[in-house]
């Protein structure tokens, strides 16, 4: 009996000591402010060499963490357990974070490299005047496909996915807005539709795609396409670029009916502990050479005009990944539809998935 009491007392004491140590560590890192920043980014979304370069140039240590959805990022920022200094959410998440007062305004005088950004990507409706956000990458949603596995079939329209020859061939990305949005676009509706009739019609149309769907998965898509396990995938442009990097047979198309145009942006969460360091980091990432190196590594489209000039013209002239402004006109940016509407989209997406079991 005594042994148990001693053991439990020891555990309690050790836990208390550890708690204290954690507290000490956390408060010391907070007070040594200019010494470190924590960056919260999507996975595989920065060239790690650039982080070391930034650390060398500024002496600021970077603590790097990743997230896999805008929603989980917001939840963590909201809970405030960790004080992130820079994060890279998508545009609709920025609207929502603005509503919830989760963002700090960005001081443009501390970001001289802002001049490198193509004006097309500045002053967008989700953040007028770029008060809270600075563009990081942009891209589209489209169809990645491998013509060698498909006897040369190409994809100009969303409806091409419904082709009966594609039975069990199509992979969809596991995300409600992308998939329901594709259904809406294929019917000529806006992918920000809040009309329940249109949404119902889109879901019913998607259900008829069921026999062609091979799977609905996430980042595994890249690997499946690279290894030619799958021939067609509805996915983000950057994932398609990743696939093409390894498997040159793969091609990417944005259907003519329209699709999603998205922007990821650097922001400073309201919980930031090192606002000055955050500005330095954002400015660093906008440097022409840095942005060019980063875009080469990540494979998404850079909004940095100065960087594009330094990059391989074969890449920047590729209209699949750098669509012309005219082509961008038929693309739509996601609007923040509110939690209620997001719920509707998700319920319909769930209904679509359920329907495939049969």
């Amino acid at each position: 009996m005594k042994g148990i009491i001693r053991a439990s007392a020891a555990i309690v004491i050790i836990s208390a000591v550890l708690f204290y140590a954690v507290h000490l560590l956390e408060s010391s890192s907070a007070t040594s402010g200019s010494g470190s920043i924590s960056v919260y980014n999507w996975g595989e979304y920065i060239d790690p060499e650039l982080i070391s370069q930034f650390e060398e140039e500024t002496g600021i240590q970077v603590i790097y963490e990743t997230f896999d959805s805008n929603e989980s990022m917001m939840t963590k920022v909201e809970q405030g357990g960790t004080s992130y200094d820079v994060a890279m959410p998508s545009e609709y998440a920025i609207e929502k974070m603005k509503e919830n007062d989760l963002l700090l305004p960005i001081d443009h005088s501390k970001i001289p490299n802002l001049k490198n950004i193509d004006p097309y990507f500045l002053d967008l409706p989700f953040d007028p005047g770029n008060e809270y956000s600075i563009p990081y990458f942009w891209g589209t949603v489209g169809i990645a496909y491998n013509p060698t596995l498909l006897e040369g079939q190409t994809f100009e329209s969303w409806d091409d996915l419904w082709n009966p020859t594609l039975e069990q061939e199509v992979i969809l990305v596991d995300s409600a807005r992308e998939v329901i949005g594709m259904g809406l676009n294929s019917l000529g509706y806006s992918l920000n539709s809040t009309d329940l009739g249109e949404l119902r019609e889109a879901t019913d149309k998607l259900k008829t795609l069921g026999p062609n769907v091979k799977a609905i998965i996430g980042d595994e898509i890249v690997e499946m396409m690279r290894r030619e396990e799958a021939a067609v995938a509805v996915t983000w442009s950057g994932q398609a670029a990743d696939m093409m990097w390894i498997n040159e047979d793969i091609d990417y198309a944005v259907p003519e009916e329209g699709s999603n145009l998205w922007f990821d942006n650097m922001i400073i969460p309201s919980t930031a502990g090192n606002v000055d360091g955050a500005h330095q980091f954002i400015n660093f990432m906008l440097d022409a050479e840095v942005a060019a190196q980063n875009a080469d590594y990540v494979g998404y489209s850079s909004p940095n005009a100065a960087a594009l000039e330094l990059m391989d013209p074969e890449v920047t002239g590729d209209e699949r990944f750098y669509p012309t402004e005219k082509m961008r006109d038929r693309l739509e940016v996601y609007e923040n539809l509110g939690l209620e509407m997001l719920g509707v989209y998700n319920e319909l997406f769930l209904e679509f998935k359920m329907d495939m079991e049969k």
Binding site: E71, D174, V213, A215, E220, L339, L342, G343, N346, E347
Partner: protein, 274 residues
């Protein structure tokens, strides 16, 4: 143990533990299940659960959990029985248990490779002259991988209860003229039934809420209640609905525990005198 009114003080940590990590979370889940998106009291989540989508999801979750459990028992019972007859029981048992030490995600990713179009499974099929089959992202691959993952949890309790049976009882049954089949049916099976019941609990309940392999192995073509909870919390951010599904999952689990729980009628267990 005779004086129940003066409970020893050293039980206090356990009570605190149970309060903090068992009762409080369940109470929170129940509380959240009555909230709508704006945080107001509502019964809508419960009404929503009985809508056709979630009702069908519940049925299909049960169906897959049943299949997984049933196949696990079919494989695990003979395995456990055979194990009790072998010389190096503990070694064999260890070999069966070792795969359960490996992380579930790793095993799932391994199966993506094995079941792939160019993977070993299809190479074997092609060796026998059939074309490559789509194995991954089917009901079959889902049930196969789930059974593979759960088998150790089924073998272990069945093995333990079979191993505890006093061999004198089996000898007695044979001496009294019972055939091998009758001995199994009338002696061994009833004595080991509690092992099967704990195995069923250990498999059926987690199988109801599987969510990692529904995506990686079944390509989200199989939707369980676990998938729906994950989505409600992480994507839709509707904690109320997520909690409501969780409440029903807890209810289902209680029902299963009651159905499979041991019915103590007193007397000797497993034929061994106390």
């Amino acid at each position: 143990m005779t004086n129940r009114s003066s409970r020893p003080w050293y039980l206090a940590p356990y009570y605190i533990w149970i309060l903090l990590f068992v009762i409080a979370p369940i109470a929170l889940v129940v509380y959240f299940s009555f909230l709508d998106l704006a945080g107001n009291f509502t019964l809508e989540n419960y009404a929503n659960f009985f809508s056709s989508t979630y009702f069908r999801m519940t049925l299909s979750s049960f169906w897959y959990a049943f299949l997984i459990t049933f196949i696990s028992v079919l494989i695990a019972y003979p395995t456990a029985y055979w194990l009790t007859k072998t010389k190096h029981k503990q070694l064999w048992l260890l070999l069966i248990i070792i795969p359960s030490w490996i992380n579930l995600l790793l095993k799932a990713y391994a199966f993506i490779g094995i079941f792939g179009l160019y993977g070993p499974a299809n190479q074997l099929i092609q060796f026998f002259g059939a074309g490559p089959l789509q194995i991954l992202f089917t009901d079959f691959s889902f049930v196969f991988v789930a059974v593979y993952i759960f088998i150790p949890f089924m073998v272990l309790p069945i093995f333990n209860s079979l191993d505890k049976i006093n061999s004198a009882l089996i000898d007695a049954s044979r001496d009294l003229g019972a055939s091998q089949w009758t001995t199994f049916r009338r002696v061994i099976f009833p004595l080991a039934i509690n092992g099967v019941k704990s195995g069923v609990q250990a498999v059926f309940i987690p199988a109801l809420s599987l969510f990692v392999i529904t995506r990686l192995i079944a390509g989200n073509k199989v939707i369980t209640l676990g998938t729906a909870i994950e989505q409600q919390f992480l994507v839709t951010q509707n904690w109320g609905m997520g909690s409501t599904i969780a409440v029903f999952l807890i209810l289902f689990m209680i029902i299963i525990m009651l159905l499979t729980g041991p019915k103590e009628k007193g007397g000797a267990l497993n034929g061994k005198a106390k």
